[in-house]
Symmetry: D2
Subunit: 326 residues, 4 copies
């Protein structure tokens, strides 16, 4: 049984814990301090390790003990902290998240883009929520794509975070084009893409406005068909905003209303004068969870990409018809 060590118990960490348990992995957790949200992990009796001495709760050991116990660590600590933690990661596989630099692991992973290259890897970076959504929607269109232009309208902080703003402003990324395009190219080098981004006062989800110049004809119906038959993409009709999409996932009874799928507004899908357009929604809190689980499977030798993806999706309750997985 693979033992997954999750470092940090925040937005991503707690979800990796849940998904790892559901996937049949053993789980341990390392944290730097006690906060009330840890109570749930304590109640569920996960082995806890302290990265900072006595943190006022019972732990199984220190960070070195933790690393020794684990087969793979998934470092979900805030941006730039994983780089500091790297000196501890000896004799253990390591996954970091998309906030870290590609150079930290030298390999960026996203299931649809380069699962095969992840097989038996020692170190991997699972790309960010925004990039994940672009890999998922662009890879199935690859043969049609001449070039891609995306405007990312980003939520500013996660729902629980009351420290970050803005409250009443739009904050553009002034580096133009933004880093999101090159980040996609760490996984899929041969898609020509440019991106620009702004941050807006909302917490629920990112939203992407996508324009693809086509090099091969397709219709709006083709585009819709492809999205409907690609795993981890939901085409939703009748919805008007990020808010009513999230409400739908609350109504579905998803834990924490998570939406690991990219949600495409059906009414936004269009093809006109050789360009394809659509708008999709990225649930920043949960979208990378399936790719993290896939990545663990790849790192421990699972060679069959679509088998890995399908099983992850079944575990997470987001699977489509079997024939979509190929």
């Amino acid at each position: 049984m693979i033992k997954v060590g999750v470092v940090g118990y925040g937005t991503i960490g707690k979800r990796i814990v849940d998904a790892s348990v559901d996937s049949g992995f053993d789980v341990a957790i390392a944290v730097r301090r006690y906060t009330p949200k840890l109570d749930i992990a304590i109640e569920r009796k996960f082995p806890l390790y302290s990265m900072a001495g006595d943190i006022g709760i019972e732990t199984q050991g220190d960070f070195e003990d933790f690393v020794r116990e684990c087969d793979v660590v998934v470092d979900c600590t805030p941006k730039n902290i994983p780089a500091e933690n790297f000196s501890y990661y000896k004799n253990v596989k390591v996954i970091v998240e998309g906030g870290e630099k590609h150079s930290l692991t030298g390999f960026s992973f996203s299931s649809f883009g380069n699962y095969e290259e992840g097989v038996n890897r020692e170190r991997a970076r699972v790309v960010s929520c925004n990039t994940t959504s672009l890999v998922r929607t662009l890879i199935p269109l690859k043969e049609y794509i001449d070039n891609v232009f995306v405007t990312l309208i980003r939520r500013s902080v996660d729902p629980w975070d009351v420290k970050g703003g803005p409250i009443n402003a739009i904050v553009p990324v002034l580096k133009v084009p933004s880093h999101h395009g090159p980040d996609l190219n760490t996984v899929v080098p041969d898609i020509s893409i440019r991106t620009m981004a702004v941050k807006v006062p909302t917490t629920l989800a990112h939203l992407h406005v996508v324009r693809v110049k086509l090099k091969k004809n397709m219709t709006k119906e083709d585009l819709k068909y492809i999205f409907e038959n690609t795993p981890r993409i939901r085409v939703l009709s009748g919805y008007k905003s990020t808010a009513d999409i999230i409400e739908h996932f609350r109504d579905l009874g998803r834990k924490r209303y998570d939406m690991p799928e990219v949600a495409v507004f059906e009414e936004s899908i269009n093809v006109e004068s050789g360009k394809a357009y659509w708008i999709h929604v990225v649930h920043q809190e949960s979208i990378v969870i399936p790719e993290n689980i896939d990545c663990i499977k790849a790192m421990f030798g699972e060679k069959d990409k679509w088998k890995a993806i399908y099983e992850t999706d079944k575990t997470l309750g987001i699977e489509k018809k079997k024939e979509c997985y190929r």
Copy 2:
């Protein structure tokens, strides 16, 4: 088996449906139009009735058929619509929600305040989310209370609603004192209370700032003890905002992250110079659901108040130790 007819499938309606099913009631739903959120009700095969002729989905009949089929209707349509629906409500018990006027039913219900008066009633109004939270927290303190002053800081719209504002303003209720005090008195006439209210740009929850002038001594520890041992109140320590409280309920895996309990910030509880103070959070979407279920039980003859409340709480997964129910 009691057949509960839920009118309207919005914020409250959909939750009454879920709680009614969990409580072992039969459920039917009447709506005025189709919206995508109804898909889940369709999938679960609830009998649907149309209040407005052909609405593009298969229904079991019209509004009159619906009323004939039901033992009690819970009218969860928007403010003032229930009054218009009343002409249809013949030979059926009727519950309306707290947005309606007391005079519509001539009886306002809140379990802790006046359960007994609800027994075998034909018509009842379950008081609003804000009033419910005040009934729950003030009734157990009744013998201590000289008078109460509450400032209500209200969320402006529910999370899915993208039409209502404000985006960047505070909107006071200029009628001072506000109607919330008198509304409490429809249930508990003998508590002297004044309230003032403002609306702020958030969707998650209301927050109440409470000051009670005491007529009988108590300590801060007494107050905390009372809240900890009263059903439907959660005393939470280590939380800083409505947002991290909601996050906690997401982490708990509650459906739609619902929090039917009043959440009191433990750190805010204080008694000083003959006044008690605290701050509590009201989840406007779900707090009235237990009281609605209790009300149905009362209307159909259940005389044992604490039995009704306890069983509702068990059904909803929010029960405390048995001895709290008395």
Copy 3:
């Protein structure tokens, strides 16, 4: 002396009044009801007319009297109301704003795009704030443009408006491409443009993310130079958001902090692989004011476009060096 009749005293109306006075026009105001914001107009002794009988303040007459008194009416009432007012507009020139349909006047005006066509017109529609900003930035680039793609990130309501949302969501325009591109083409038919739009929870300003495919080489320095030497465009360096740009105009002491200029973030200006990129900010409350004043001048026979524009800019205190006006 031209007598300008301003219909409606809201966001646009009150600014047209101020700019008309500053431009040496005579002013009258017609309104449908009294609100406290009218007090300032009363104090300044503008002749007021009622569109709806007795409105509780002293007026000079009814709507027909008003129209008879005026040489031109600028109808600034909310969307679709101007169409209803049209039956009153006899023997008077008429300007409507960008919320109205092009077909209402059959002619859409924007100074940089088609001033000449406005000369001696009887009826004109001054295009919307978003379109105005695109006319101003794209016309000086026209010879370079192969095609344009713009993502509009729109403020949801004006700062004083507490009724409209969303509070915490992104609301896309699901008609893709959006109507903003075709609207530009009512003024400048020969620019190939596609637009997509979203609405976000902010009140201060719209923001546009622009990508231009070039058909003629230019450098980033060329682009910056053109913007710096075009009237009604401000290139701002060192600013990070719509909020600190607005703060700058507060600090400048502009009345109501108005920014009739398009503000381009200098750091966002870029040219790469045959595409030009930039991000600009549109102050929805004031950007169309200069074009409205220009339009009046054109309608009353001023043939010299750049003279009209220069004088308007001087009057409004936003003029650049004289040589920019050609």
Copy 4:
């Protein structure tokens, strides 16, 4: 001519500069770094001093030079920085703002409360925006007051600040009662007051919900009359929110739409069962400016409180009838 040295050129600093100039004082400015907002100060040729060596613009000297040049420094740097600056303040009078601790100067000043104690002082702390509004509204009611309870609903950050949140939450001050009551007592020790506070996602203004238990009878009309005849209080009728009040000050043409007056919603004023109630709005950016100017006057020997206040008000354009100043 008094030379006022303003330390920090942020929200408060830049307004102290403007008001000092208008009051006929000489002005110098010390800053720690260059930001674009300084351009306006550079253009207006204020002598600038650097607190941190070379900051890339021309300066007249370092922080010691600055202190030597000035008769009084008004330290408007962020919370806790003034304490660090204190070692430099030799042979100069010093004013700090309300974010600092009372103990830093040992004397807290607010014109209506204790002007006389400020006369010829060497060191003073002008109390915060929230406390200022309470001093102004409570002092004229002093003989009526038994005790006061205030709920402060605070804006979270100033309009230009895009870093601070929350975006979608209410954040209570969990220390109950909050520090605002004791802060009032640093100026007026003999008013019995308790306060509680929350932070909400808005930038425009704070809002206070006030309840006063009366020890002497008054009517609602008395209360209104007192507010209408007290300087620096505006009673506004017909307004609904912080947003339309701010809009009013934009329309008035106030620089930066500043509202140094406390704005009381006329409709909220009420007296009932021995309690007075009202709701007022605090423009956090500008409300303390008059008191800072008064404080300078007092420190330099002006003994006539009402003369000082009246002249400050005239200078700032907010004066009432002369007979209100006594």
